[in-house]
Symmetry: C2
Subunit: 528 residues, 2 copies
């Protein structure tokens, strides 16, 4: 197989090296940072050439039967050694790829997936399912382990297998990334309408395994709601649920795989709900004197039944950073979409509600804050590469909480994170936006940018992450709304979930993965 199953991706950058910030962009970012952080060392560090990194000798040989789709070359192993969290990238730039997997298998069929699991079982190896490799929570890296590790890369299974236009559903292989599946659905005029920030690389199987969230603010926004049925290969064989629009027959089998993060088996394909592309669109941006006033409007909107597709509230600093405001006001980016019905009236009603909460609608512009926002949303992970190269500590984390606790949680998390940033980095920016709105609560998303100390960035990040996670757990938020648990969120996840559910999930895993070989260390403790 090819040495580069992830295409032309670079192991210490977000994605396609062709898309990394240009020298001019880096110059602009540096200028911006210099204005805000006068004392920061903004020298550029591009990292050591990853082709010169020494990769340890593989701890298990590849059986002949699997050689056609399995490799243990250094580049392939490095490309699958880490995810895309801040620490992953910072360490990789320094040549530290932790413990790379011993082999990378890229099965093309469910039978080949089963063969890989059989091999792992026989060889006493761990198996880590790997989609786009965009985990920002340490979900796909082998931990420090003496056990050999095989990473199972699903990207060779990327076809839309079947489209049921009558039911508006499609059967899609788990390894299809956002653009790959949208291109195939688009030929039939359909779309999954699921756009996480990692859209360019992340895969359907990864979305299901991590209960990913798309960028729509209301309605079916978690992948959970788009799933009709799932096929997975577990160490004990095939787990295949029936294709149903709804069912009341016992606990949902799909809901046990949703969020399983590779610990139960490898998701190979799923029937998902698709829809025609929207024909009707309307949007506006609305300014609020404060983030709290904007949040009141978001709550009113979420409880109105209007279901805006976009309802993203940026705090003043975040609005400025995203060229959607001047830094003095919070900005709500509001959008409606529908395939079938006009949405102008919905927008009018929404603007009325915003007005009641003190919002002032900004003038319509040909390319307004909404488009502005969309392009910076997809560009953000690339810009992080520039920030990292310039020595900044960067973290984004998110949660969800009920409305009654929202104000307190927001204040507590901003305070605790700001305090940690000041303590650890001397200075820094902590911003917040609301990304998803529910009738009973909201999902705030926080961004941290602070000048790091060269070679200490990972440790600085960790201290800030600890403070932020403690604050949001203490304020009653979930440790993650859509970034998953992985290794990074595990301590707070353990506190969040009911202990007896942990016992039930551990037992459920043991039933389908008796040796505990699937993504060990994630979600449940390794069996003894």
């Amino acid at each position: 197989m090819t040495d580069a199953p992830l295409g032309n991706r670079h192991p210490s950058l977000w994605g396609d090296p062709e898309q990394t910030p240009t020298a001019a962009e880096v110059r602009d970012v540096r200028e911006l940072l210099a204005g805000r952080f006068a004392d920061a060392d903004l020298g550029w560090y591009s990292g050591i050439d990853w082709r010169r990194v020494k990769v340890p000798t593989p701890r298990l040989p590849i059986p002949d039967a699997l050689a056609a789709f399995t490799t243990d070359t250094g580049p392939a192993r490095l490309l699958h050694a880490v995810g895309r969290s801040f620490t992953d990238l910072v360490r990789a730039r320094r040549g530290d790829y932790g413990t790379p997997p011993d082999a990378v298998a890229m099965p093309r069929t469910a039978a080949e997936v089963a063969a890989v699991l059989d091999w792992c079982a026989d060889a006493g190896a761990a198996c880590i399912p790997f989609g786009g490799g965009t985990s920002v929570v340490g979900g796909i890296a082998p931990g420090e382990t003496d056990q050999p590790v095989v990473t199972l890369q699903t990207r060779a299974m990327d076809r839309v297998l079947d489209i049921d236009a009558v039911s508006q559903a499609a059967c899609i292989q788990a390894g299809a990334s956002g653009p790959v599946l949208e291109e195939q659905l688009g030929r039939e005029g359909l779309s999954l309408r699921f756009y996480p920030q990692s859209f360019e690389f992340s895969t359907l199987g990864g979305w299901i395994a991590t209960r990913a969230g798309g960028h729509f603010a209301t309605g079916p926004t978690h992948i959970d709601d788009l799933v009709e049925s799932i096929d997975a290969i577990t160490p004990r064989g095939l787990w295949s649920s029936a294709r149903l629009p709804a069912s009341g027959a016992g606990p949902s089998p799909d809901r046990m795989l949703l969020g399983s993060e590779g610990t139960l088996g490898v998701i190979t394909q799923a029937w998902v709900r698709v829809q025609p592309r929207p024909n009707h669109r309307a949007g506006r941006a609305v300014q609020f004197g404060s983030f709290a006033a904007g949040a009141d409007a978001v709550r009113a909107l979420a409880q109105s039944g209007l279901q805006p597709a976009g309802c993203r509230l940026l705090d003043p600093t975040e609005a400025a950073l995203n060229s959607a405001g001047d830094g003095t006001a919070a900005v709500l980016v509001l959008g409606f979409e529908s395939t079938w019905r006009p949405v102008d009236h919905d927008l009018d009603l929404a603007l009325e509600l915003c007005g009641d909460a003190g919002g002032v609608a900004l003038p319509e512009r040909p390319r307004g804050p909404s488009e502005q926002w969309r392009s910076s949303f997809l560009r953000a992970p690339y810009l992080r590469d520039a920030l990292i190269g310039l020595g900044m500590v960067v973290e984004t984390f998110e949660t969800a909480t009920t409305w009654d606790r929202f104000g307190e949680l927001h204040a507590a998390v901003i305070d605790a994170t700001q305090e940690a940033v000041a303590r650890v980095c001397g200075d820094g920016i902590v911003t917040c936006r609301l990304t998803h709105a529910y009738p009973d609560g909201a999902a705030p998303y926080f961004t941290v940018i602070a000048p790091g100390s060269r070679r200490a960035e990972a440790q600085q990040w960790l201290e800030i992450k600890l403070a932020a996670s403690e604050a949001l757990a203490g304020a009653g938020g979930t440790i993650t709304h859509h970034h998953a648990v992985g290794r990074d969120h595990r301590p707070w996840y353990d506190r969040q979930r009911p202990d007896l559910f942990a016992a039930a999930l551990t037992a459920a895993k043991a039933a389908v993965d008796p040796t505990g070989m699937m993504n060990p260390g994630v979600l449940v403790d390794q069996s003894a």
Copy 2:
């Protein structure tokens, strides 16, 4: 404790004996049946007096510590011996209550629930959680068993404990029935807006345990979508999930309890999403030349994003039976509701879609088919009592399937059931309505009314049920959309769910219920 913890309910009638059909109503029903089934014996059989039924000696003594809320009197045990399926009622009328529980506990607090479970564990007894007792699938009756059985009746825990008006959520004890919780929420101008047909008696805990469906056709219609968090007492202790509007942290703990049918523990309370009562309403009835044409309109509506609250399509016979039509046309009962936004425009758009599918809107009437429908919906279970007394075999069953398979499933199920009815009863009516509509499929609900042979009704019902269940499983439908699994649906449930999910669920149960004492025989096999 009182002998009649279910109020003035009767063990062989649907509900409140005061509400049973009057002599005049029975006369009307008889006349109707005589017109359709000329040869049927329509003599009235009211059943033997349940107070004269001999109840076996209890197999375990009640500990003093639990005596304040536990009883083993005959009446209490008979009242908890059976659910409300056709066979339950037919057999009960003949004095056959199967194996009644040995004791009925009615704990008032979570601590008392835990004490009951401890007692059961010590005494080697099974424990069956019991809410309103309205199961139509054999979900709450002790099977034939040598093990002593304690039924845990939750109705003493029926308070709304907390209302969070900001988040539009309420913490409600599991034993609250529909009217009881609505009355408490109504004082604050709020409603759960969840109306299953069993609303009068069934409880929040029962709804969660059975993944019940409300009568709204689209939007959040399963109780699953209304749950924020759940507290349950398992044999190993408290399982309490965090109150969150959404989370991506691992598989959802709540989704493991949703549909668990008492096999994991006793649900004691839950935070649920509530909302203000609707201020805007609009509805119409639309006639279609055929059920298939009506189904096309329902599909278009479900895929339009209009989200009608009511979108119930009655086939011609069903329309006639419910006084919503003359028997020559299918009737779609369409309704929109909103708290905040006017819905007249939505109705206009919906009627346009119906017109495209050949539908003709019926004139608006002060008390139109929609109100007509609502009253017969809630009255139906009482009318079943009249049908049973007159010797009819009555069954209602439901499923859900994707739109691409809907036409075939409908034809196959109607044919197979009609054939079974003719074979078993000589003649009979089989009707269908669509109760719930999803973008990717629909939930058809079937009703069977056939003249039975006295004393053979239960066997006749079983033969018809077998044929219907085989047909719907064969056509790819779920064995239940909202009636649950219980003992009656178990064979088809076992075929429907993935085998490895069954293994995982069985293991999960063993982790929280090591001795297998919770509702044994339901969902998973009894541990050896």
